[in-house]
Symmetry: C2
Amino acid sequence: MATVTVAAAPWKQLLLSALESNSHRKHSSYFQLATVGSSGRPSNRTVVFRGFADNTDNILINTDARTRKIEELKHCPFAEICWYFTDTWEQFRINGRVDVIDESNPDPVKIQQREKSWFASSVRSRMQYLGPNPGLPSLSDQPSPGFVLDPSSGPVASFCLLVLDPDQVDYLNLKSNQRMCFTSRQSANGSKCWNSERVNP
Amino acid sequence: MATVTVAAAPWKQLLLSALESNSHRKHSSYFQLATVGSSGRPSNRTVVFRGFADNTDNILINTDARTRKIEELKHCPFAEICWYFTDTWEQFRINGRVDVIDESNPDPVKIQQREKSWFASSVRSRMQYLGPNPGLPSLSDQPSPGFVLDPSSGPVASFCLLVLDPDQVDYLNLKSNQRMCFTSRQSANGSKCWNSERVNP
């Protein structure tokens, strides 16, 4: 069976359709992000899809700069998303390189992107970044003191934006029992091209 | 806050409760399994929980011996499960070593365990292992020919049992906003002991 090569990411429409079909489930915007720890062991956790970066196929994730995934991504910048849609029985495995954008990033465009993601999230979400260091021993059984956050103030130091640039996507539909592999490569002019191939489920 | 050390796996009861509370959702028995590829990149896919191995905390997963995760696990035997329960908002991250039990395994007890898992799965599930090589290009648009499988015959060559032996569990409850870390170590007599610690979410 011949493979097909196109410039637009052919998996993106499948993903947008899945998001649409499953949108009545709050958890349809959650997926699992796998990284590799400095020990060489895999790590895996649930994160929230924050949309695509403007006019790209790059996937946005907000995270706390104090979590272990940040040091893991500095050690190995690759990650694989596994996104299972519980109503339509579709799975997307999205592999790519992750750009970690924290407040020390020297690129003004990226700093702007981080700020945009901060304001796009709810004030309630932003409040999480004011809490104690995630993963460290909980020092008290008392609830955290009531933080006050000005809705107009920009990102706090612990707010970090992850941008995953996909280069391989494996799509599986368990209802139709069909599976597609999408692989990217650089074309002669430097832009990204996608190959699609139907594979056995 | 003092840590607590016990011999029985303290996270197992939490996991059994979550399974019970979410049992009306078919997808509550699905979780994401992260491994590390030979390239050093992470891999991540949805698999089905097949229960615990008899009288242990070891987690059983059935898989096709022809899938990429098998070569990945031979290269790096560690995996992390990320298991998110959509109704109760609980997440379990379970890290441990995976034992790959295929038909060539020299241990008769493990071969028996593999056979038991084969017969514990439905005939429909078993049929999958007769299909064409997963992940290879699909050679035909025709449906696969109707295979016949005698329900009394034992595991086929492509059937493989994975047994994950947890040594670290991270539990997060998004409703109560509580997080616990469970870490195991070998006690003086060689048995496994678990430390529990409450950490910041």
